[in-house]
């Protein structure tokens, strides 16, 4: 049955034109506003969105409109899964979608894409986060060290860090670490569960060697020196020397 549903024309930044059903297009509050306050027949310019991105966004809007209107037989769980697959794209596309969803004011899509990025970054280390968002680190080495110490509990259970036992070193040992090779001093807390087992195993030893599993190779680092430390009782912290290859 042919229905006389209203269509809206959209022109993207790269001059592609899309003709979409009104119900789908007005999922965007921006388009809705322009449509209702302008000439209904004219083409709406979506300057900041490219054809590829708009095409994806319209897929999303169509799926959600159809599901809400009952035009498509899809359960909430299936829609949730469809959404999860929709955001399985590369990082640049994801950022493009976020910008576009924000500019077009499609709240549910903005929520979905932002939550996706949040899930991707939640387990990362601060260095990786700076890369992702292109952020300059404006802390001095000492200041960053202080912030890390204050929040050290949040640094445990990070993937890729090896089995190690850590101890709080005296302040003069720490300053030796900082001045020795002009490199970054990173405080790394081991997987706490592993740490508990290590302490009980090493209770009788005077000093230990530290073994480290290889880290994520995207930021290659060379281990410069490892201090031999004495195993005490309780929790221990170890400071490493790293030369960061940028």
């Amino acid at each position: 049955m042919g229905s006389t549903s209203t269509k809206i024309k959209l022109r993207t930044s790269d001059q592609k034109v899309f003709e979409v059903e009104k119900a789908v297009a007005v999922q965007s509050q921006t388009i809705k506003y322009i449509y209702e306050n302008g000439c209904p027949d004219s083409v709406i310019h979506v300057h900041s969105v490219s054809g590829d991105i708009l095409s994806k966004i319209l897929d999303y809007c169509k799926k959600h409109v159809n599901s809400a209107a009952g035009k498509e037989d899809i359960s909430p769980e299936e829609l949730y899964e469809w959404d999860a697959n929709f955001v399985k794209v590369d990082q640049n596309t994801l950022f493009d979608l976020i910008l576009a969803a924000n500019c077009l004011k499609i709240e549910s899509l903005l929520d979905l894409t932002c939550q996706t990025v949040a899930n991707m970054i939640k387990g990362k280390r601060p260095e990786e986060i700076r890369t992702t968002f292109n952020i300059k680190n404006d802390y001095t080495i000492e200041a960053e060290e202080a912030v890390r110490r204050e929040n050290k509990w949040a640094f445990d259970m990070l993937g890729g860090v090896g089995t190690m036992v850590i101890e709080e070193l005296a302040d003069d040992t720490m300053s030796k670490c900082v001045t020795n090779a002009k490199s970054r001093v990173c405080v790394i807390a081991a997987n706490q569960i592993v740490m508990m087992r290590s302490i009980s195993k090493l209770a009788n030893k005077k000093s230990i060697d530290v073994y480290k599993q290889p880290q994520n190779p995207t930021t290659p680092r060379i281990k410069e020196s490892v201090k031999q430390i004495n195993v005490g009782t309780g929790f221990i912290e170890l400071f490493f020397h790293f030369k960061c290859k940028m």
């Binding site: 640049n92 932002c114 970054i121 939640k122 292109n134 680190n137 640094f155």
Partner: protein, 399 residues
Amino acid sequence: MQRPRFELPEALVMGILSKLPVKSLTRFNCVCKYWCSSFQTPHFISNNYHNNLENNNLNLLLSRCDGNTFQLYYSQLSNEKDQNYIVKQNIHLPFFKNDLPSVYGACHGLLCLLDPSKDKAAIWNPSTREFKILPPSSIQRPPYFSPFEETYLTLDDISFDDAAFGFDSKTDDYKVIRFVTLTFVNSEEEYSHPHFMYQVELYSLRSNSWKEIPSPDDKPTETNLGNNYVDGICYWKTETGAYLDFRGLILSFDMGKEKFSILPIPEFVGSFPEYYVDLLVFNGSLGAIVYPTERIDTSFDLWVTSEGVWTKQFNIKSISGVVHPLGFGKNGDLFLRDTNDEVLLFDASTQELKELEINTYLDHFRFDISLHVYLESLVRINGIKEIEKHVIRQPARDA
């Protein structure tokens, strides 16, 4: 992760970050100074809390007593449903010495811990690991003159048996209300008949001090099941024998107006002695789990009240061997204690009763187990970071 082709505008980056768990945000404090200061703004804290509320990012604490050491502590349960609520870590509170405090809240992810026998209290954000010790109340205890014995009596004991913790949105302040019972005896006599007096104290976080407020006629008579604060008002069960029929009533306290009121519990909801009516907060409203006192197969009704109207939300039919409810976890899952003092879970989605792998069979005082629930939150309380003297966390040994 790669370097992006372009940078997202700051507002969008903050929008993404506000969806992160508190632990990630704590770690990202060292990304740059701007992020660190942004995470402390009321706007960011509120957005983050709102996201946690929407996603129901609940954490669960189960109070327990160690079978060997008789130490009281909390087990933090995993909030991943597919992990079957296993114990993630155990939390001890040496600040309260060898007793577990009474727990009130949560309010905006904050818990209030009160020692029932000493003037010792703290407000705690377990997500950010901030711990604020409250000052002792400097409120004068009144003298008690016994006309019969014609002498002033001696203040023998002070106890803090009931309280609540909540938020006053008008003044943007967190408050603690505490009922004080003063026990007086005649120190001259060997077997003295105790006399009681009551006071009510109110603490404000903004002023970091206690003040006395007029005591209501009816005092709380029972401990609540879990949280007793919602939407600006605190609630307790109370009774009145005024008409020789012990009616169940609810005493309420408005945190903003600082006023007490009484609400009746309708007969059709349930009345003692046939039923227990356990007050708690359910889905943002005051509710009660109602269940019969004497029966082998217990069925549970959940009632919710709003503006005086009570509606039954749902009923869980005949679960045999179950004694008491402990409270709700995520998604309407109900924690229960059975006749063997084991902790069970009634799964709301499958309508099935499940045993949990918490291994409470080695515990002592399993009849006294209680459940406390709080949302992840960044709310700041002018406290200090957790130190071993106050809070000790130990990851669960079996992992």
